[in-house]
Structure formats: structure tokens, C-alpha cells
């Protein structure tokens, strides 16, 4: 079953750079898809378009059969809350406790005012605790997010995404600012949780080796177009070279 259908997606930024050229691909439920490509290839723009943090110039994105690109503000909130997003820079509210940061994942489900004053329900709080247990951070719950190490912060970010009870997780370079060991921990958490809960996941990575280890499917992006789409075993060295080769600007 297709959870995400992207058709003829194009994004041209205000300064005239074309980030995506006519991209089309589908993602099935339960896939762990990894997008690889050199920086500036358009990986980020793909993920951000799916969450509509970036407004695509043209094309369509269907998420669970709902059109994202033209949805109203209210509809967008409902769509966004079903997509957890994880960032390279963690992007937690540093001055707030770890537990609160996880609870932020519930904001999309609450009425605007209740969420604003932080009146989270008992069930939400219980759920947040069990998520912290899953990422092994219960003993840090009352600490400020800013006091944690990078790897721990990313685990909090994963818990926040999971708090949204998402159908899809979008992870934009989740390990790019972490050391190799921590990176492995994070990828393990991400993979295991998505696998256990049946959450579809799209990850941007630039480490090909890591991608090969976890991906059920790899998409290679170069200069705003998809030039590879297949399994890890199908990704040969020459394909990799092709993806990372810079085209000469004519």
C-alpha cells in the first residue's frame, strides 16, 4: 500500500536555484527508505516539501491519499502531526525539560490554547514517559534538553517524533553532527522503533555505508533528480560514483 505518492515535484527557490526537477516516486507502508546524494543535491528539499516546510513550485504530494501541497492551514496541521520529523541539529527547545520536549510532539493533537499553556493530558504524559524509557532517557527527564549530549538530544528528538504517533518519520541527516559510535546508536534506535511500530521512514544520509546497512530501499539524488532507485544490493560502486559525481556546469 502506498503511503506517499510524489508526482512531478519541482522546487525553484526565490533566488532562482532549481532544487528539485520533476521528481516522482512512491513510498510503500513500512519501507525504510534512505536518500543519498552529495550536499546541495536536493535531499533536504524533498523531505521539507513532504512536510511543507518548503512550498513546492509545482507537482503533487499525496500522503495517505491527501494532497499536501494545496491543503489549508487546518488540514496541514492534521497532516503534519502524522509525520514525525528529525533534524541534523536536533532542534529541541534547549531551556525546557526533556519531558516537555517530548510532549511537544502532542501539540498538533491539542486545541491551540490548551497546547499553548502546556496543559497536557495524563495519558500524553504517561505516553511520553514510556517513550523516554524506550530511548533510555528516563533518568534525564527533568533535565534541560540543552544539558544533554548530542546523541542524547537526538534520542529526545526521536521520542518527540514518536509522541506524534506518526505514520511516517522524516529524518533529515539525523547523524551528520554526531560521532560514529553515537551515530550507530541513533540509527539502531530509529530502525528498530520504525520496524517494531510499523512506521514508514525516509532518511537523508550522506554516508553510503550506513545507508547500505539499514535501507530497505535507496534513492540516489543528484542535482535535483533521482538517478538511482533500488535495493542496497543493487547499489554498485559505479552507481555510487555516478551519484556523487559533480556534473560540470555548462
Amino acid at each position: 500500500m502506498e503511503i506517499l505518492e510524489i508526482q512531478n515535484l519541482t522546487k525553484i527557490y526565490k533566488d532562482g536555484t532549481t532544487a528539485l526537477r520533476d521528481i516522482s516516486f512512491n513510498v510503500k507502508k513500512g519501507e525504510f527508505a534512505i536518500i543519498i546524494g552529495s550536499s546541495g543535491a536536493g535531499k533536504s528539499t524533498i523531505l521539507r516539501s513532504i512536510n511543507r516546510l518548503v512550498q513546492p513550485t509545482s507537482g503533487s504530494i499525496l500522503f495517505q491519499n491527501k494532497e499536501i501541497t494545496t491543503s489549508s492551514k487546518g488540514e496541514l496541521r492534521k497532516i503534519r502531526r502524522e509525520m514525525g520529523m528529525i533534524f541534523q541539529g536536533f532542534h529541541l527547545i534547549k531551556r525546557v525539560s526533556v519531558l516537555k520536549n517530548v510532549l511537544h510532539g502532542r501539540l498538533g493533537y491539542m486545541n491551540s490554547f490548551k497546547g499553548a499553556i502546556g496543559a497536557f493530558s495524563k495519558e500524553d504524559e504517561e505516553a511520553a514517559w514510556s517513550l523516554l524509557e524506550r530511548v533510555g532517557l528516563t533518568d534525564q527527564a527533568y533535565k534541560r534538553a540543552g544539558e544533554l549530549s548530542g546523541g542524547q538530544q537526538q534520542r529526545v528528538a526521536i521520542a518527540r517524533a514518536l509522541a506524534q504517533k506518526p505514520a511516517l518519520i522524516l529524518a533529515d541527516e539525523p547523524i551528520a553532527s554526531l560521532d560514529p559510535t553515537t551515530s550507530e546508536t541513533i540509527m539502531n534506535y530509529l530502525y528498530q522503533i520504525c520496524h517494531e511500530d510499523g512506521i514508514t521512514c525516509i532518511v537523508n544520509l550522506h554516508q553510503v555505508e550506513v545507508a547500505k546497512r539499514y535501507a530497505t530501499r535507496i534513492l540516489g539524488v543528484q542535482q535535483g533528480t533521482i538517478i538511482f532507485d533500488g535495493s542496497a544490493t543493487e547499489l554498485s560502486d559505479s552507481e555510487i560514483q555516478h551519484i556523487y559525481q559533480k556534473k560540470l556546469v555548462v
Partner: protein, 262 residues
């Protein structure tokens, strides 16, 4: 499973609540004592808008010519006061900086004097000085000079305390005298910073000079106050616009120069 909130966090929470409570208490005390309330606020803002847009608007452009003289006086007054206070502060700051002072007792004395000069608002100085020098620019200039000397001595001393002592010791090691060390190793390091602060003080002086006139210090403030008390509100509005332009203009100018300096 869930750890309880540890007591450091609890204490922090109590501390925060205490501070907020204390402040709320202060605020309500102030609100009650000054007889302040929201209807009064709204009413007051309404009255003010009526006053500004009906009585003061539009500004009387023909009064501009008469205000130009006092406005220029304000600029001259601010500049002269700034230069005199910068020069006196320059000498005082060497005594007030702990790393260069000839004697700690002198250091404390000069620091105390500077704090005193700075803590008394320039307007209070004017009030006292007017009694001795009469109404006019002399009282205003001296008032700005006094408060400026306080501020600049303190900030110059801070600049001096942050200097790199390496070159100072190097010059000292050649057998140079105190004055020579200051002139050759210290002044070049601190001069841009000091000029920067002086320009900033000039900027502040313009703001203060604009109001000093109101209690008799001469300049544009005096002219504006007179228009108000003669109920020539449209003239007063012109003067306010002129003051506004002056402040913005000088701020822009001094900022530009300081950017290039530092």
C-alpha cells in the same frame, strides 16, 4: 520508574515563584498607591492621541526657522561638553584603572567620584548650576560635562583594564618611564575604544541636551518648553520633530564612525 523531581530543581522552582510573588506584591502596591487602572490608561491614551492629532497636528513649518538656532546650540553644547569630559576622563581613567593606578587609595577615590558624578542625573546638575550661572547654555554645558566625566572615566578605566599587558611589559623592560610606557604602549591600544565611547557619549548628550533646556539649560528643549507653555502646540510639534531628526541623525552619524573605528 519515574524519578521524582530532584531537590535542586525544586529549589529553583521555589526561588522562581518567590521572585515572581515578590514582584507581584511590589507591582500591586505601586498600582494602588499611584491610583492607576486600565480605564484610566485607555482614557489617558485617548486624550493623548486627541491632543497629538488635533491640537498639535500639523506642525507649524514656519516656526522651523526660529528653532534652528537653539537646535544648533544643542549640538554645540553636547559636543563641547563631550570633548571636555573626554579629556578629563582620559587623565582620570589612568588613576581609576586597577592595573595602571599609581595608588589603590587614589583608584577608589576617583572611582567613587566618577560613580557619584554619573549617578546624579544631569537634570539635577542643571538645577543646581542654574542657580549659580543663571539660565542658559553655560549651566547646560557644565551639567553635561559633569555627568559625562563620570560615565567616561568609568568606561575608559574598563578599557584600560582589558589591555594586553605584553607590549606594556616589553616597553617597560627597555627602561622607559611611566609616562613613556603610557604614551607608547597603552594609548595606541586604547585610543579607538575611547574615541568610540566618547562618540557614544556625544550621542547621549544630544538626547539629554534636548531635555536639559526644559529646566533652564538652554537650547532646543528650552524653545520647545516655551512653545508648550504658550499653548503654541503646533510650534512645539515642529520642535519635537526637529529634536527627533537631530537625535536620529547624530545617532546614525556616530554609529557610522564607530563602525569604521572598531
Amino acid at each position: 520508574m519515574k524519578p521524582s523531581i530532584n531537590h535542586i530543581q525544586k529549589r529553583k522552582k521555589i526561588q522562581t515563584i518567590l521572585i515572581i510573588g515578590l514582584f507581584a506584591l511590589f507591582l500591586s502596591w505601586s498600582l494602588i498607591d499611584t491610583g492607576f487602572n486600565v480605564p484610566k490608561l485607555l482614557n489617558g491614551i485617548g486624550e493623548t492621541f486627541r491632543f497629538i492629532f488635533i491640537d498639535m497636528f500639523p506642525p507649524n513649518l514656519s516656526s522651523l526657522k526660529g528653532f534652528m538656532g537653539p537646535a544648533l546650540d544643542t549640538v554645540y553644547m553636547s559636543f563641547v561638553a563631550m570633548v571636555i569630559s573626554a579629556i578629563s576622563a582620559f587623565f582620570l581613567s589612568f588613576i581609576a584603572a586597577y592595573n595602571l593606578t599609581p595608588h589603590p587609595t587614589l583608584q577608589y577615590a576617583v572611582r567613587g567620584l566618577a560613580s557619584f558624578l554619573q549617578s546624579i542625573p544631569a537634570l539635577v546638575w542643571v538645577l543646581v548650576l542654574v542657580a549659580a550661572y543663571g539660565l542658559g547654555l553655560i549651566a547646560g554645558t557644565i551639567a553635561l560635562t559633569l555627568s559625562g566625566t563620570g560615565l567616561l572615566t568609568r568606561s575608559f578605566a574598563e578599557i584600560l583594564e582589558e589591555i594586553d599587558m605584553g607590549p606594556v611589559e616589553a616597553v617597560q623592560s627597555t627602561g622607559a618611564s611611566w609616562i613613556q610606557v603610557i604614551g607608547q604602549a597603552v594609548v595606541p591600544q586604547v585610543l579607538p575604544g575611547m574615541v568610540g565611547w566618547s562618540l557614544y557619549k556625544f550621542d547621549l548628550n544630544i538626547r539629554e541636551a534636548a531635555v536639559i533646556g526644559m529646566v533652564g539649560g538652554g537650547g532646543i528643549g528650552f524653545a520647545m518648553q516655551r512653545s508648550l507653555s504658550l499653548f503654541q502646540y503646533k510650534d512645539a510639534f515642529m520642535a519635537i520633530l526637529l529634536i527627533f531628526t537631530l537625535i536620529i541623525g547624530i545617532e546614525y552619524l556616530t554609529n557610522k564612525v564607530r563602525m569604521r573605528l572598531l
